[in-house]
Symmetry: C2
Subunit: 249 residues, 2 copies
């Protein structure tokens, strides 16, 4: 596959089965959140999986890398608002020869019903903008701002669209900030996605979590599970065994 | 103070400033949950503090032991449905010479408005029955069953009464099972107690939490904090330093 790389872009090796991704450090590079989400989400054979706010497509590409040996017939859809990111994601899909399995479109998550049928996915994943934005209308936004702040997409829109797309008993996987957990849990329930699992990600065992992984079940019953904490570092600069295994280093 | 001890009862030293409590192992003995709740809840000078489902009064007695050197004018009220427990709690209050500071009554938490004025407490604590009970009406209940199962008191009643008793910006502290966290968070918000802090209690660092401490603020704004995990054991039979300090052993 010939590599189309624009100025300022780079190609990063995902350290798993030779998969690669095109990124532009000036725009947005994936972080620990996308990696943890891709590992937290579970897919089963024959399922259709949708990634909202996909950016450069890191989550479906990494999930394909992680899961396709066992679940070769899973199809991944992905949607992103920023045109340049969609274009990069499409080139990464080609680069990894995944055009039959991963389908990225340009679109607004709020209008998911324009692109996808209701209840047509068994899995929805999302690494949404984390930060509430109360700064009103601006004329210009940086790509990083759009990816990180709720400028064009609120949490409520993310969960409402996920609920629309999910089949009954379909699974929802999101990564977000612990600060917003109460809001997340109540919105999920409002949109009939029952919170079923939580896992907090702590930099060190004695520090507050910086991220939380959330699993939900469309139309599920009450009762949830909280997992053991996911600790990133044993000591400064040294990953825990679990994280080393995830990063394959 | 003369000790009134009935058959089957014992007097346990709380390992803090000589405080003691009367318990009956056949009925119910306090566990790690009451101890952790008493340490998690914060009181400030001049505040009024109410403990719901107080049982033998362990939470207010322990909070008095922990806090009264710094906050000698805090007054503790406590309410319990089971008459024998109330009677034991009252004797423990006398035993520790706390009759001016701790006031235990027999009553139904659901009918808190019969006993207390609205918005009259700055702090409400509760270690409620944890287990949902769907077993219908029974003719006889064991004291332990009543303390552990939601037979006479549902989670919704606990939170509704806490909200009634709490002053604006009053603080709510509860310990419960992580399995019910989604329900807890949504009920708290329904009754205008905003969840503001969570701390999960894990037996070991690599195990699921068995309990969760929850802090709320009556009429508070969004955004919450999740703390570092509270780990009970370093290895089998060996408490972590934090827990050793709490238990003063």
């Amino acid at each position: 596959m010939e590599l189309k790389i624009n100025e300022g872009e780079r190609v990063d090796d995902l350290q798993i089965r030779g998969y690669r991704i095109i990124q532009d450090p000036k725009r947005f590079c994936f972080g620990v959140d996308a990696v943890m989400l891709a590992h937290y989400a579970k897919v089963k054979p024959h399922e259709r999986c949708l990634d909202l706010c996909t950016g450069t497509g890191i989550v479906p590409i990494l999930m394909h890398a992680i899961n396709s040996e066992d679940t070769s017939d899973v199809k991944y859809d992905a949607i992103e608002l920023q045109e340049e990111s969609v274009e990069m994601a499409k080139r990464s899909v080609e680069l990894n020869d995944l055009t039959l399995d991963v389908h990225v479109i340009l679109g607004d998550v709020k209008e998911a019903a324009n692109y996808y049928d209701a209840a047509s996915f068994q899995v929805v994943t999302v690494n949404p903008p984390y930060i509430e934005d109360n700064k009103g209308i601006k004329t210009e936004y940086e790509p990083k701002m759009i990816a990180r702040h709720e400028i064009f997409l609120k949490l409520k829109d993310v969960i409402s669209s996920a609920s629309y797309c999910l089949a009954d008993k379909g699974r929802f996987y999101m990564i977000h900030k612990p600060q917003r957990l109460a809001e997340i849990i109540c919105l999920m329930r409002e949109y009939k996605i029952e919170p079923k699992s939580l896992r907090f990600i702590h930099p060190y065992v004695d520090k507050e979590p910086v991220l939380v992984l959330i699993g939900g079940l469309k139309g599920g019953g009450q009762q949830m599970r909280v997992d053991a904490p996911l600790i990133l570092y044993k000591e400064q600069g040294v990953y825990t065994d679990e994280v080393s295994k995830i990063y394959r280093i």
